[in-house]
Symmetry: C2
Subunit: 477 residues, 2 copies
């Protein structure tokens, strides 16, 4: 007979009929009760084994992690905690799991231990929940943009351009690095490399996405991006997924509206689709925070925090206002900031962003109109000649989750800026074409997907919200 | 006033009210009629300029490719070919497009010329249509799996494993290749590289996806994969997007059912959502085939072909049956095949696949149960000891679009196979863990997304269905 997913069994509209369930044993109690999970939901189905009529050798093989198939009646459960259970009439061990060796025993494991077993950690409740939530969030992203008529664009991963300077890049090559071809001048002969030139992994699809926005109007990317930066922090990955919408005729206000609406939509979507997983992650967080001093615990539970973001507008604050607030703030006056804010023009550090979001405004904040000289070349210069139409969205506990801007659509102004910064016009000939032919106001932003997953799951280390994290000294699996 | 997308204007339920449209001029006829496109649809909106009251200097700037904003009454059109038009009362040139220099003039360009202008080709009707269809197909992929409860998994792009041997790999490094660190033994010291080891770009997420399927039940990947193969053909890219579902408890028959249902779903979804774009691509193909000899033209139009796939089951044929058919075929007997089929065990070439699909069965074909020694190590050995539970789906005009298999779930059999093939057990310790702990029957397949887009759009060169193709000697943009 065909098996039914545990999620469907637990939501069954019928009862007292024969079913087949397949999954993995989470626990086996009293030689009788299997908690069976198949990954379709965080909830297990209880399978009651007729232990008197089951051979001892079979019972011994019902261990945590074993794959089993059970056939039996789906009945209303007498026990607490579940509506249905299966009265097993036939049990088959599909794959054993040696209790002495299986690393994922039903006890508390450190997150560090679980990272070392990234191929197995998804068999735990927490990581099953995280990865289901991540998946639904990803679909929410696509659904939001597609419903609004955006076109999904796959910008290139391997790129010959390295002009944007968003960060250190990884080199990609098919040359034998222990026996490189050399030109007559003694340089590495990249003409002989696969692409006939020096190539890197992309740090952003924005510039290519802009060329598409200037034809299709509204586009978005959602793909992997890379940074070869030795940042061993809980907020950085060398390989992460980024979402980059780009919209023709949008100015910075439209851009802020889009980002806010987008974030609220995907959180709402996930709250609707993943109630059980989010409830589990909420209690996990409460449990974890019990060991922390009161002052470090969250003021809101996970679900309260997510609902707060849905119900409250993000606070929009210009960089100049933010500098005033920070300069007059208690930690600045008492010299508690590591980097004191003395004057307009200072780059904001994580401590300042946290102060604004977590202490001063106590809500997500959109900072805009930054000094031109601390932002990228493609951002639109304001009439004041010293600020650009940049925006960063700051989230409590996460810091920067979105960075975006209205783009400089004026060819002359853009060229001037590139000259000052020494950015090669020849290399970006195609990017400049968007300003040569039918240029128009346009805006976009980048959102680091893993930071969004961090926020929604309440996890605190970015390595725990991507299946196989890539960080300095770690490319296992 | 806020502007409205052209698609929404053309579908307006009201008439005779003031609207604002923004977009790019496709053509400007009789000093009066602008065909305006904003990428939201393949259709243009006609904007009628009051040329008598518009300065000559402005009229001269209404050139192909220019970005303009028009305000005026949306009225029923008297002309043929459109329901509505805009009687322009106010026109603003947002960005000029010098007619002498803009490469995308309204005339026929070669596909090769358009590839060299990949940043601008999307401003043509054909590439706008292709890229909207591509986007909708991508969303169909996600929607299909998400509705069925699959979990989207982002498997790593940078990988330390290179055991699968699906193809030549690109190396990824953050070392200075012109000044590599060397060990005492004289080898390159990859311990000093970013990840502390030699790393490559992934050729497939399958092995990692398997570890997730053995926890979450049903999973799928959809991400970029890479081949450093010097294949300068119309069917190969060095960087392409692949979809890889993997399902616990599915055998090969379930796997074939899934693949067939999936392909039919995404084609149906796209037919429903993209009627205008597909109709355009259909007529484009008819036009293109006019220059071909009758014998080389398609028997069906694009839409007929897509509907045929929806309405007809894929023909399932074992490798052994296929060999019999090929051995007895006319081209084999008349020695027209480049590689003659003499005996069981031969690897099938493109010419054989095309014969089976296009001449013999005249429908999509699923070949299964291939000889073990021409397929990958992880495929499940049949009871006959010489074939494996592999399947390939072959499509007319495209060739192989899907490759998949039931996986070898038996630890001992898998290890034996790896030993014979010299595959490093140490390196795949994590993959083997799926067979050590709670192993079970499972299956999956890989579908090259661009080949699917080729089929659905009726294009014939894979470089024309991805925004910025990566091929030997080409990583421009």
């Amino acid at each position: 007979m065909k098996h039914t997913k545990v999620k469907d069994l637990l939501n069954s509209s019928k009862v007292n009929y024969e079913v087949n369930a397949k999954g993995w044993v989470r626990t086996f109690r009293n030689n009788q009760f299997i908690a069976l999970n198949d990954g379709s939901t965080i909830n297990n189905i209880q399978c009651v084994v007729d232990f008197e009529n089951t051979p001892e050798t079979t019972l011994k093989r019902i261990t945590t992690g074993a794959a089993v198939s059970v056939i039996g009646q789906l009945v209303e459960s007498q026990g607490a905690g579940q509506k249905f259970e299966i009265q097993v009439s036939h049990l088959e061990i599909l794959g054993d799991s040696d209790a002495e060796k299986f690393p994922m025993q039903p006890k508390k494991h450190s997150l560090e231990f679980l990272r070392e077993n990234a191929h197995l950690r998804v068999r735990t409740n927490a990581f099953g929940a995280i990865m289901r939530v991540r998946s639904v969030l990803a679909h929410a992203v696509h659904t939001y943009f597609q419903e609004k008529g955006f076109v999904y664009v796959n910008t290139p991963i391997i790129t010959g351009a390295d002009a944007e300077g968003a960060g250190e890049m990884f080199q990609v090559t098919a040359l034998p690095v222990d026996n490189l071809p050399i030109t007559e001048e003694g340089a590495i002969d990249y003409k002989k490399d696969f692409f006939g030139k020096h190539t890197n992994l992309t740090v952003s699809g924005q510039l290519e996405a802009e060329t598409y926005a200037m034809a299709l109007g509204q586009v978005y990317t959602f793909g992997p991006t890379f940074r070869a930066e030795n940042s061993n922090t809980s907020r950085h990955l060398a390989e992460f997924w980024m979402i980059e919408p780009e919209v023709a005729f949008n100015d910075l206000d439209d851009n802020m509206d889009l980002a806010e609406d987008f974030i609220q939509y995907v959180i709402k979507y996930t709250l609707d689709k993943c109630p059980d997983d989010l409830k589990f992650l909420e209690s996990r967080l409460l449990e974890e925070e019990k060991s922390k001093p009161q002052a470090e615990r969250s003021e809101m539970t996970l679900l309260e925090k997510l609902n707060f973001v849905l119900k409250n507008n993000f606070k929009r604050v210009s960089y100049t206002e933010a500098i005033d607030i920070l300069r007059d703030s208690t930690p600045n006056k008492k010299k508690k900031f590591q980097y004191l804010i003395n004057e307009w023009g200072a780059d904001l550090q994580s401590e300042h962003e946290r102060y604004l979001v977590e202490k001063h405004f106590k809500c997500p904040v959109i900072l805009f109109d930054y000094p031109a000289n601390i932002k990228a070349f493609y951002m639109r210069l304001n009439e004041d000649g010293k600020t650009v139409r940049a925006m960063d969205i700051l989230f409590p506990g996460i810091g920067e989750i979105v960075g975006g801007s209205q783009r400089e659509e004026r060819y002359d102004v853009l060229i001037e800026k590139m000259k000052v910064l020494g950015i090669d016009e020849e290399e970006l000939w195609w990017y400049l074409d968007t300003r040569r032919f039918g240029s128009a106001v346009h805006s976009g932003f980048g959102l680091g997907f893993e930071r969004l997953v961090l926020f929604v799951t309440g996890m605190t280390n970015i390595r725990d919200v991507i299946p196989f994290p890539r960080t300095p000294q770690n490319a296992e699996f």
